[in-house]
Assembly symmetry: C2
Homo-oligomer: 152 residues x 2
DNA sequence: TATTGTTATACTCTATAACTATA
DNA sequence: TATAGTTATAGAGTATAACAATA
């Protein structure tokens, strides 16, 4: 190795964010592989379980994905019997995405595996530090002065 | 909107990391677009500027990319006259990647734009909080007990 | 006119395997 | 036998535009 301490001179917080995120996604993906789910579909299922009835537009906003991508992801959950599309009573353009009993059970199972894998990623951090990190990230990922700026 | 508070019930720190990272990359990409550089190439150039002589393997480790991807990225920097490959004197398998004067000037220019764009992303955080975040992320992205685990 | 869901498509990224030259 | 760099390629992920139905 020519430069042994390359990594230690890193200051760029943007790169640090990207590297930490990549580690988290990799760990979650590995944990989810046996269930044939990827990290994005897991997060989508989680949103559906927690909200129980969001429109696809809501899901696109929550995950900062293009609505056209939500279509395929919800299709997959529907094909596996984990979610269903229901016409929204108030606005016939909307489709409410609801979790099925089977989907709720499945989520409970895989969630334990995912959280264990994230524990590994956060192993060096105390409980307090994890809460700090979560709070700081929340203010970056979901600023109070909303203004979603997926495309600009 | 069916569920107004979807975003606020988010606990998943893995998703928060991914969203925050995506915001950072998007902001940096936007700032770098006029210079026809993407976030990854910027980080690569930064490593070369800071280390001045890393092997391509070093760069792959620092950015957690596959060595085969570094080839194309270094090619691009070389084509634009920002970096050069030099045979390493100690081991003829290695190629030391060094920044050119032109590359150093270019980096200084775009760096200001990137840091300004990251300021926007971190706007809600105080100086102390940014330092906290950087420190926490560093311990996730570059754990002391190294063991790079790109592929496993 | 604007918005939701949808389809199709092109583009970028990423992962993987195989090869060479050197050690 | 192992490592650095390289090439090629297939797959996953992403962005974009256009359309029908509804508001």
């Amino acid at each position: 190795m020519i430069v042994p301490t390359l990594g230690t001179m890193l200051e760029n917080i943007g790169l640090l964010l990207a590297l930490a995120s990549a580690r988290g996604v990799a760990a979650a993906s590995k944990a989810l592989a046996p269930a044939e789910l990827n990290a994005r579909s897991y997060s989508l299922l989680e949103q559906i379980v927690l909200a129980d009835g969001p429109s696809q537009r809501d899901l696109a906003d929550a995950l900062r994905l293009d609505p056209s991508q939500i279509v395929a992801l919800v299709d997959q959950l529907e094909d596996r019997g984990f979610a269903e599309r229901r016409p929204a009573p108030t606005d016939r353009r909307l489709k409410a995405v609801v979790v099925t009993d089977q989907g709720r059970r499945f989520y409970a199972q895989v969630r334990a595996d995912v959280e264990r894998s994230l524990d590994d990623v956060l192993a060096d951090l105390s409980r307090d530090e994890r809460e700090q990190l979560r709070s700081l990230l929340h203010r970056i990922a979901r600023p109070e002065s909303a203004a979603p700026e997926l495309v600009d």
